[in-house]
Symmetry: C2
Subunit: 209 residues, 2 copies
């Protein structure tokens, strides 16, 4: 029997990553999560000390120990709000990973779930011209405005990813698969990713026989 599986999607702004994630989830019968849903999950979750204790890498190195030291207390409520938010998001991703059958877009989900063998991590990109056209049309803005928005958003995404992981955002080696949605098209990308999942399931099936 095929195992539960999670697909994490990193994406350049304007590459159609969200639409691809939604369509892929629908095709596979998986649940779709994006940054808005993850942020909501983070807000809803109570943050306990044991949750914090799991984040023993960069978070701990750069923020957590300092923050706890600063406050002279182990009271989670005294941690800076941005840190609590990130920990909450990561904890939400971890829970989703345990449930399986999910497509998660954004928020370093590939890094949070990196030890999980059932995760396929994907990065989606497209030519700048194609992304400008897409962003301009979708938001009814000028091409210049779209170009600025793409540059700023991608800069933030890269900074976020590289702050919390030890990998480079958008570099092929940081993911299992990187795909040009401008070349394959939105539906074509969904098809290729779906074929990847099927291939993985066949592999698992043969291993379990």
């Amino acid at each position: 029997m095929a195992r539960c599986r999670v697909i994490t999607i990193g994406r350049q702004y304007g590459s159609g990553g969200r639409e691809i994630g939604e369509k892929l989830a629908e095709k596979l019968g998986y649940t779709y999560y994006d940054t808005i849903l993850l942020d909501k999950a983070a807000k809803d979750s109570g943050l306990t000390e044991s949750i914090i204790a799991r984040y023993d890498e960069k978070l701990a190195d750069k923020w957590l120990n300092i923050s706890l030291g600063m406050h002279g207390s182990d009271d989670i409520q005294k941690l800076p709000v941005p840190l609590r938010a990130v920990i909450g998001q990561f904890e939400a991703i971890r829970k989703i990973g345990q449930q399986g059958s999910a497509v998660i877009v954004g928020r370093c989900a590939d890094h949070v779930l990196r030890e999980d063998k059932n995760v396929l991590s994907v990065f989606i990109y497209a030519g700048l011209g194609q992304r400008i056209a897409r962003v301009a049309e979708r938001n009814d803005i000028s091409r210049d405005e779209a170009r600025k928005r793409i540059r700023n958003t991608d800069k933030k995404r890269a900074a976020y990813y590289e702050y919390y992981t030890d990998k480079e955002w958008g570099k092929s080696e940081s993911y299992h698969l990187c795909i040009d949605s401008g070349f394959f098209g939105i539906d074509g990308t969904v098809e290729v990713l779906s074929a990847c999942i099927q291939q993985q399931e066949r592999k698992e099936d043969s291993q379990y026989k």
Copy 2:
């Protein structure tokens, strides 16, 4: 009817790129070309002025004009041997591209054929540990020796690619698809690439109906 198609493969040393290329070609009924075959094709081809004239980019900028100037002659035979070899390889790739139904490994084939809409460009990579194990076993050398060979070979490949193209070797955006053969396995990677070709053929079929 599906169009003729070419798959170009760039690859990290030890990622199984050659084996994947061979198996993919066999599966699709395509002809397989690697660097050895391309080099042979280059040797066999007579280099004419009109061939040289096509290489109007970096080759021309960095080498060709200087070389022609140096010799004060347009005699192709007087060009430096390394330059003639590269031009010969690129010309061989161009001819293969026109024939179609081919898998080409190495030698910036993606760049040479970049204007051809029937080309799928792929980059294959794998975790360093997996590549070290593969190279050590295949060549019956120590892990340290394998590590050195990987580093040196990849350095040369990157330098070659970045000298003749305006793109970064191994960066996702330089290719249509980048795939981790350590994650998918050799046969799994062949399956995924084969699915990509099928997806492209379906797309073309629907466009031509």
